[in-house]
């Protein structure tokens, strides 16, 4: 333990020494980082996910001939789990380093891949068109400036970023069924659930946190979790689902 603390201290001192004045990274307090993990599930009957008929774009019909695409507003998994839920620290975050690696959004087979993506403010976002026809991505932002841009087949990727925190629904102006979300979060402690509904938020220094789970149809739920040391705390979320 003591060696571990020393190395953490050294790391913190070195990091602090190397940090540029513009990017003040608070030194990690002495003590291990904790984890909050859990599962997101639902009760009740969720709406049926409907097959998307892309008839107006025959090329995309061909791309999905083997496995038709379903709507993605409520995607469930075995054990009543929910996919595409964004779980994140909404309060108590003691400082997140700005993320610099580029997040990638693909338009392929007339779908947004991934359906929900998370970026931090000013994190680079590249949007690719991998289909042999035009798309026109239209993020319906209300806080950030709203924009839309066409990408004909073979067009270069759009290099963009979001500056302000917001949950932004994204649609394609040309293909009405194409929908996705850009979640702009200030915290770097977030996760997007997979089919197993599971999430893990790690690297959390001791403190009081509010963890929020957001599902595009069911809204948000929050829980308070306190981390005292390097423990793992469990926080599960259960959404009430209705068929309509």
């Amino acid at each position: 333990m003591r060696t571990h603390s020393v190395s953490v201290l050294v790391t913190a001192l070195v990091t602090g020494a190397l940090a540029r004045p513009a990017m003040v990274v608070p030194a990690a307090p002495a003590g291990a980082a904790g984890t909050i993990s859990g599962k997101v599930t639902y009760t009740g009957t969720p709406p049926k996910m409907k097959p998307i008929d892309m008839a107006k774009e025959p090329n995309c019909v061909t791309q999905h001939a083997a496995a038709p695409v379903l709507t993605e507003n409520v995607v469930t998994g075995p054990g009543n789990t929910l996919r595409w839920v964004v779980v994140y620290v909404s309060a108590g975050d003691q400082g997140s380093a700005p993320a610099t690696e580029t997040v990638r959004l693909d338009q392929k087979g007339c779908q947004y891949i991934p359906h929900v993506l998370v970026v931090q403010p000013n994190q680079p976002l590249d949007i690719y068109n991998n289909d042999p026809h035009s798309h026109n991505i239209h993020p319906l932002a209300r806080v950030n400036p709203e924009w839309n841009r066409s990408q004909p087949a073979g067009a270069p990727p759009i290099h963009t970023k979001w500056e302000l925190p917001e949950f932004i629904p994204v649609k394609c102006n040309v293909h009405p069924w194409m929908h996705g979300w850009h979640m702009v979060l200030t915290t770097s402690h977030y996760a997007v659930t997979g089919e197993d509904g599971a999430f893990t938020l790690s690297g959390l220094p001791p403190g009081k946190y509010t963890v929020t789970a957001w599902q595009e149809q069911f809204g948000t739920q929050s829980q308070d979790v306190t981390i005292t040391g390097g423990e793992t705390k469990t926080a599960n979320f259960v959404f009430k689902a209705t068929p309509y």
């Binding site: 008839a55 107006k56 774009e57 629904p169 009405p176």
Partner: protein, 267 residues
């Protein structure tokens, strides 16, 4: 120079007319009950205007060839009869053709757009939006659920803004992006626009109609041949106008019944 003009004009006239006559590019085969009348009207107009086109261009070419100034002191001559034959030709010949086309044409037009639909029609709702067509069949209850613009949600495929939670007539509505219809059955479409002007055009059906926001517009026809045909938007509606299409699939009645059952199961 005059001879050159006459020759060039003659070539242009002959070549362009030939391409029409030879039907190098032409209408697709008609599959509509009212189609033959439209095609007949079109042919009548094509022939009469073709004759007028060829005669006037060749007359122009001929006169330009003949009446160049050859510096021979020839006197100019007025057209025999002066302006009177021109007025007479226009009023009598063109006038007669116009009368004929109007009398026949107005009946053809009225037959499509001013007659009530067949009471046995299959009723289908059509919604045009930026940039797709969606079609709605009433389902087993035979009734369409109410449309709520504020509930319209493309991500959940609720294109018509139905409220199945509270509106039982909406629960069995079948919403699809393809217009499947039984062959030989009168069809009554009800056209609604969600956002801006659009139009419904199927060349093979010889039918076209604008969608107007705020208006509910009926359109009826009967398809006579099975097959898959394109519906395209012909009213400028925004950037995706060029890509706004759907397909109409004309099929025998039993096949249509099965199709409808399959689609109902997917709702």
């Amino acid at each position: 120079m005059g001879k050159l003009f006459a020759v060039v004009l003659t070539i242009i006239t002959v070549v362009s007319t030939a391409i029409f006559v030879l039907r190098v590019w032409w209408l697709p085969a008609d599959i509509s009950a009212h189609g033959p009348q439209i095609d007949h009207q079109l042919m009548e107009t094509m022939v009469s205007s073709g004759v007028l086109f060829v005669l006037s261009q060749l007359a122009l070419a001929l006169f330009v060839w003949k009446y160049a100034d050859r510096r021979d002191g020839r006197k100019v001559r007025e057209f025999p009869g002066g302006a009177t034959p021109m007025v007479a030709a226009a009023v009598v010949l063109v006038g007669a053709e116009i009368l004929a086309l109007t009398l026949v044409g107005s009946k053809v037009w009225a037959g499509i757009y001013q007659t009530p639909p067949d009471p046995n029609s299959l009723q289908i709702d059509v919604q045009a939006e930026q940039f797709a067509f969606y079609f709605r069949y009433p389902g087993p209850d035979g009734r369409f659920g109410a449309i709520h613009p504020e509930l319209m949600n493309e991500a959940t495929e609720n294109f018509f803004g139905l409220d199945p939670a509270r509106d039982t007539t909406a629960r069995d509505d079948i919403v699809v992006p393809t217009l499947a219809i039984p062959v030989g059955r009168p069809i009554l479409l009800t056209l609604r626009a969600k956002d801006v002007n659009h139009a419904f055009y199927v060349p093979e059906l010889r039918i076209q109609q604008d969608f107007v926001p705020g208006l509910v517009i009926p359109l009826h026809f009967t398809a006579t041949q099975p097959g898959k045909y394109e519906i395209v938007c012909t009213q400028l509606c925004g950037l995706g106008h060029y890509n706004m299409r759907a397909y109409v699939e004309v099929m025998p009645q039993p096949q249509f019944d099965q199709w409808l059952k399959d689609k109902a199961a997917q709702q």
